[in-house]
Assembly symmetry: C2
Homo-oligomer: 146 residues x 2
């Protein structure tokens, strides 16, 4: 086996994770100007998405929804609290749990965010079938990896 062949598997062009990593970051970069308008980072945005749907959730459950642990979420939630979009308080039943609840202001933000998904859709420029295929493959990997 020559040298070229031996190291083939370590070439950047033969990686699948790399375009995943790159693609994820490029898209989040595309989100930035839209998210700047409502003063949220991408992580804050997906956190708000969960809260817009559920209204109230503890950090553990939130982390399971977002695949993020408390080490990442704690500062994100403190930031969202300081912006007035959420409240954080310990559960009475189990003091270990911190319950996060959306505020009126947090609810209001939803209407400002509502145009973002459509704007992003025009950046990605995939057909509906392609998006569906990608979506399924990604969740399949997530299921396999965990």
């Amino acid at each position: 086996m020559n040298n070229e062949e031996k190291y083939e598997s370590l070439k950047l062009c033969n990686q699948v994770c790399f375009p995943l990593y790159a693609c994820s970051k490029e898209i989040i970069r595309k989100y930035k100007p839209f998210l700047d308008e409502i003063d949220l980072t991408y992580t804050q945005y997906i956190t708000m998405m969960v809260l817009w749907e559920k209204k109230s959730v503890n950090v553990k459950t939130l982390g399971e929804s977002l695949y993020l642990d408390s080490g990442t979420l704690t500062p994100v939630l403190k930031k969202l609290e300081s912006k007035g979009y959420i409240n954080r308080e310990r559960s009475n039943e189990d003091e270990r749990n911190l319950v996060v609840t959306i505020t009126k202001e947090g609810e209001n933000l939803r209407d400002k965010a509502i145009s973002i998904p459509a704007k992003m859709g025009t950046c990605v420029k995939l057909s509906l079938e392609e998006v569906q295929c990608l979506y399924n493959l990604l969740y399949k990997i997530i299921g396999n990896v965990r």
Copy 2:
């Protein structure tokens, strides 16, 4: 239109970027134990991939290959230099350019890394066709987004 419909596009389950983001991070998390063995972060690893192939490259070009800007690369490269895997020096022709060159130690690291792609392949558990499909979609998005 009822409330449910109105906000449909903001639901986490209707996002394509989110599973991309989550998947990317989950896979990188899977890399971690393997990369720990050779004391590299994922970013350092893909940087070394380029250098294993090209031996020498300037920061600009490296950034284009990795979709990373110099603000991200500068600390990564300083770290790799401190580990003895690369040398950094300004180009003579154009002092603005910093040329990064792999060292003997950097070359040696390649043999320690060689088993990683196969180990990762078993985590992802996709068929060859699925991997190919994913790969093409991801690069298509990257092409569209930039």
